[in-house]
């Protein structure tokens, strides 16, 4: 089963954030569909639309992998199914 999800990353800007996050996603077979990234007053903020292939790697294992990255780099990373945002903001 393929799940579309929103990945958001928030934290102090530093070298290697995009590399670490995308490496973690690639190792789980997660495809990146779209990326938006900004830095606001030194705070790194990135939003990704990704597709998790549950046959390759279950959703909770992807989350666990991202939690490791968040821990190593001191970031806040969340991975949530896309439909929760769509449901809340669109009729």
């Amino acid at each position: 089963m393929k799940i579309r999800a929103i990945l958001s990353v928030l934290g102090e800007d530093r070298v290697g954030i995009v590399a670490a996050v995308s490496a973690a996603l690639a190792s789980c077979g997660v495809n990146i569909e779209d990326i938006r990234q900004t830095i606001l007053s030194g705070v790194f903020s990135m939003t990704m639309l990704v597709t998790v292939d549950e046959d390759a790697c279950p959703f909770d294992r992807v989350q666990a992998k991202l939690a490791e990255v968040a821990n190593d780099l001191g970031l806040q990373i969340t991975l949530q199914r896309e439909d929760v945002f769509r449901f809340m903001h669109r009729i």
């Binding site: 569909e33 639309l49 959703f59 969340t78 949530q80 896309e82 449901f87 903001h89």
Partner: protein, 454 residues
């Protein structure tokens, strides 16, 4: 590709991380009609099997949904057919069925199980009497079992015999749990116009008009709404306040709708309803009283409180009604005293009284909720308070309820501590001029003319 704006994504994340946005409860509602048998032991065995088997996947499914959506699900619960309806003829003590419910709840890992209940709004059957008599034992020897009684309805009027029986059960249950400030009464609620699909405790039951099994969801608490109201400028007028609450209620209801659909589909049962109630928790900021104060009342309970609550309740319903077509349950703000830090604070300061809470009942769903009263309050006074709440519900064609906790050995000004989500509350003073003769007359207060709608 990314059809959502970063602002919308950020808003949802802020709601979750800073404003207590969550799904308050997912309740699996189960029919027990197949569990009827001719001895209490046989009923208890069947009830255990039915609940343990049917609710086996409830907790893991909710945990998984919470992870995937990134939205916490605070409580997972089960509601069952009112037990008095499946009790065998001539049964004495029904507590063994409560024990079976408790064991089943423990084995599937849920927080509460509701439905140790009796419907007596028009008449009291032998099984109803047996259930009421079993309440003190059932509620003092279990942690998760919740009980409710229906004592009045717009179509039947107020069954004062049932009200008095309930008041006696409330006092006996308080005595049976005296060592813990009468906490057993926190799991016992008396209803007028009881609803059949309520996901909230202590009043959740699986009603007669429901399918074999379904999932009912209660939406998030007041934290998000309070944050939105507080963020409005000081000079925002009341129409703008109502608009802001409506927009927020829509968003949190949509999340509830999504969780209800997914949970039902994964558990292989029907989707029931989404309850649009704001249910507070003792956590700081997750309080209906705080919203009332943010709208502009100096302290909850002061003049203006009923107006603010009416505005809040209506705006939540209007926003929520766009978010789901499956509205049900109680769908109105809860104003429990012990479970709402702001209410508890207001009561302790004397701003909020029992009489004001009764007035507030007229404009929201569940009124006299989680109120600690002195342990020596006479049974007639307890009954009269319950019947006053019922009168408001009967005449106005709405649900009302009373969940009173006479705290043994405590006086007004003392504090009752129930722990966890049940919170703590100051013991409130009760008028000494109760209608003792009124409630002792018994019989039924006839249904009002408004019942003749056909």
């Amino acid at each position: 590709m990314l059809q959502l704006s970063p602002e919308e994504i950020a808003e949802t994340l802020t709601m979750i991380t800073q404003q207590h946005f969550d799904i308050r409860t997912v309740t699996l509602s189960l029919s027990l009609t197949g569990c009827a048998a001719d001895s209490v032991e046989a009923v208890a065995d069947r009830v255990y099997d039915r609940v343990a088997r049917s609710a086996e996947h409830l907790v893991p499914t909710c945990e998984r949904l919470a992870r995937e959506f990134g939205v916490p699900i605070v409580n997972t619960r089960v509601a069952v057919t009112p037990v008095a309806e499946i009790a065998p003829d001539g049964a004495g003590d029904l507590a063994p069925i409560a024990h079976a419910l408790e064991r089943a709840a423990a084995v599937v890992g849920i927080d509460f199980i509701g439905g140790f209940s009796a419907l007596m709004h028009k008449g009291i059957g032998t099984a109803d009497r047996a259930l009421i008599a079993s309440l003190p034992e059932a509620l003092s020897s279990t942690e998760r079992v919740c009980a409710s009684v229906s004592v009045a309805s717009t179509r039947a009027g107020i069954n004062m015999d049932a009200v008095l029986l309930t008041a006696e059960a409330v006092l006996a249950t308080a005595q049976a749990t005296a060592a813990r400030d009468g906490v057993g009464c926190a799991k016992l609620v008396a209803f007028c116009n009881m609803v059949e699909d309520n996901p909230f405790m202590a009043g959740a039951v699986h009603g007669a008009g429901e399918p074999d099994a379904c999932v009912n969801v209660g939406i998030s608490g007041p934290g998000v709404v309070r944050a939105v109201v507080q963020s409005l400028p000081e000079d925002a007028d009341l129409t703008q306040v109502a608009e802001a609450i409506k927009a927020t209620a829509f968003k949190i209801t949509r999340a509830g709708e999504l969780v209800a659909r997914e949970a039902a589909s994964r558990l292989g049962v029907e989707m029931g309803i989404v309850d649009l109630s704001l249910a507070p928790t003792p956590a700081e900021g997750d309080s209906v009283a705080d919203i009332i104060e943010a709208i502009g009342v100096k302290r909850c309970g002061g003049p203006g409180t009923t107006t603010a609550l009416a505005l809040l309740n209506d705006a939540v319903k209007k926003g929520g009604a766009m978010g789901t077509s499956s509205i049900g349950g109680l769908s109105g703000a809860f104003i429990p005293v012990s479970e709402d830090a702001g209410m508890s604070r207001a009561a302790a300061s004397g701003a909020l009284t029992l009489e004001k809470l009764e007035a507030m009942t007229a404009v929201c769903s569940v009124g006299l909720d989680m109120i600690a009263v002195p342990g020596d309050t006479p049974v007639e006074t307890i009954a009269a308070i319950i019947s006053d709440a019922c009168a408001i519900g009967v005449v106005n064609g709405k649900t009302t309820a009373a969940r009173l906790i006479p705290v043994p050995g405590k006086r007004p000004g003392d504090t009752a501590v129930f722990g966890g989500l049940l919170g703590s509350a100051p013991v409130m003073s009760v008028s000494e001029w109760a209608g003792s003769t009124l409630v002792r007359r018994g019989g039924r207060v006839p249904a009002p003319l408004s019942s003749l709608r056909n």
